[in-house]
């Protein structure tokens, strides 16, 4: 189990120096209060009032996630159903180990500006732990330098954590070309020459999804994909053995880690999903009886 450092524990530590938060708060408040506009006319000219709905949604969402995380920390058992594709990830790595062949992992071809990439990198962390344990070779071609930096941190960390820091190869994660199809061409070549036994695609993918997946299929690898982009999902579904669809990609890293802290986020998400379904049903009813303008206006945020 890792040491628990998150923003709350940091704040707790800071409370030892009680003055600091007070100072920070005072500075912020005085900056806001001193700004002319604020003094002249509080309200719509400073704060964008119609965006209140987003604030409410943000607060509801954050509290749901935080509450579940708190419960998880307190040791409450949280049930999460099986997600087929995620279980397959571990199996695929196992098979590669048996065959003595490498595992290919692509954390998407988007930059870290895309949250899908971060989800992919988080999953890479879990996969790297398994490959480190069995000393299975791991290939991680990436398309953006920022993704390179983050992926290297993750893989290096995973190897260190498994006590295999010595067998970590610095070029496990490598930058391959900047352009989408140059990247694809290189990875396709890699699949045909190094013949990985398992190809795992997790993150943001675009048109190259099928180019990669078909080549991987022709090379005879087990393939597991995950992306939140609805436009690429059909191709992964057609050409891969397992596909994590949309939200499942984000769920996968929490699910794989089995850490209660991360599962809390997943539960919070589910809670808000139920609220959304209820909101849709109420809205539909109100609109059907033509009395829903006040309600739909809440959702129409500039």
């Amino acid at each position: 189990m890792r040491k628990d450092i998150d923003i709350f524990s940091i704040v707790k530590k800071l409370q030892a120096i009680r003055t600091l938060p007070v100072i920070l708060l005072t500075i912020t408040m005085s900056l806001i209060l001193n700004s002319q506009a604020f003094a002249q006319d509080f309200g719509d000219s400073v704060f964008i009032l119609p965006r209140m709905t987003v604030l409410i949604l943000l607060l509801v969402f954050s509290s749901a996630v935080l509450l579940y995380t708190k419960w998880a920390k307190a040791g409450k058992k949280l049930f999460i159903r099986k997600i087929a594709g995620v279980d397959a990830v571990e199996d695929a790595v196992g098979r590669a180990t048996e065959m003595g062949k490498p595992v290919l992992f692509i954390p998407g071809i988007a930059d870290v500006e895309d949250i899908e990439t971060i989800a992919g990198i988080a999953i890479l962390g879990r996969v790297a732990r398994v490959t480190a344990q069995y000393e299975t070779p791991l290939l991680v071609p990436v398309r953006y330098p920022m993704v390179l930096a983050a992926s290297q941190e993750v893989v290096e960390g995973a190897y260190a954590e498994m006590g295999k820091a010595d067998s970590y190869d610095k070029d496990t994660v490598r930058y391959v070309a900047g352009e989408q199809f140059a990247f694809t061409a290189t990875v396709n070549g890699m699949m045909m020459r190094e013949r990985p036994a398992a190809n795992i695609y997790m993150g943001g993918f675009f048109a190259e999804s099928l180019l990669l997946a078909e080549t991987g299929n022709a090379a005879g690898a087990i393939q597991i994909a995950g992306t939140a982009r609805p436009e690429q999902l059909p191709f992964f579904v057609a050409a891969c053995d397992f596909t994590l669809m949309g939200e499942e990609l984000y769920a996968a890293s929490s699910y794989l880690s089995k850490e209660p802290l991360l599962l809390g986020g997943l539960k919070g998400q589910d809670f808000v999903k139920v609220l959304i379904i209820i909101a849709i049903l109420i809205g539909t009813l109100l609109v059907t009886f033509d009395i829903g303008d006040w309600y739909t206006n809440l959702f129409d945020v500039p």
């Binding site: 070309a177 990247f183 061409a185 589910d270 539909t284 059907t288």
Partner: protein
């Protein structure tokens, strides 16, 4: 068609060679593909270097700092330089600060964008009138949308096993998903083929013309 200059002939033949060498991969991995692939990788990495150098480092950092006196850009500049600490194993943890800045900002942008730009408008537009007096067609469409959205959302509900009522709804969800994926696949076929048409049009019209002029 007017006759091509030497440079134009060269460019057309170069293009044609590149097209054929990449296509040859579909038959089998081979030397021509390998060469094109490696050149391609190098060029595109170099392309980004040139691009970032001119549009980011020069235009957004160096010029504003020295010409306009925007000295505070020194901070992102330093944050960027911290990235290089990665190259020294002992100090590589320092670069995490820059990474964290990047990740934290991304997360901040996304949190708002997903809630404001995706969830609210999509939820809003799902609240459609089911009033039968709108006509059969409109009501049917509205029903498809409401049932489809809700069953898809339930398919992605992780906190319960898919049994009983949940199971039925999730199954409806997966049917909806399959129909949508089929539609999507079918629709996309067109796009992919048009790209190939573009290539074939080049080979037949441009390269063909060049061959005709030379021989």
């Amino acid at each position: 068609m007017e006759s091509f200059s030497f440079l134009e002939h060269f460019q057309i033949w170069l293009k044609a060679y590149l097209i054929l060498s990449l296509f040859s991969f579909m038959y089998k991995d081979n030397k021509f593909y390998k060469l094109s692939e490696h050149v391609f990788a190098g060029l595109s990495a170099g392309y980004y270097v040139g691009l970032i150098w001119q549009t980011v480092i020069i235009q957004q950092l160096v010029n504003p700092m020295f010409d306009k006196g925007e000295w505070w850009l020194i901070f992102p500049g330093l944050l960027g330089l911290l990235m290089f600490a990665r190259m020294i194993p002992k100090w590589s943890w320092i670069s995490r600060t820059s990474l964290a800045f990047y990740m934290g900002s991304t997360a901040g942008i996304y949190l708002i964008q997903t809630l404001h730009g995706f969830i609210l408008p999509q939820v809003l537009s799902t609240m459609v009138s089911l009033d039968p007096s709108n006509g059969f067609a409109a009501t049917l469409l509205a029903l498809i949308i409401v049932i489809g959205v809700i069953s898809t959302l339930i398919y992605f509900y992780f906190s319960k096993e898919h049994t009983g009522f949940m199971g039925v709804t999730a199954r409806v969800g997966i049917w909806f998903i399959m129909i949508s994926f089929g539609a999507h696949f079918g629709y996309t076929v067109m796009g992919r083929i048009s790209l190939l048409i573009g290539r074939v049009q080049f080979l037949v019209y441009d390269w063909g013309e060049s061959i005709r002029q030379i021989f």
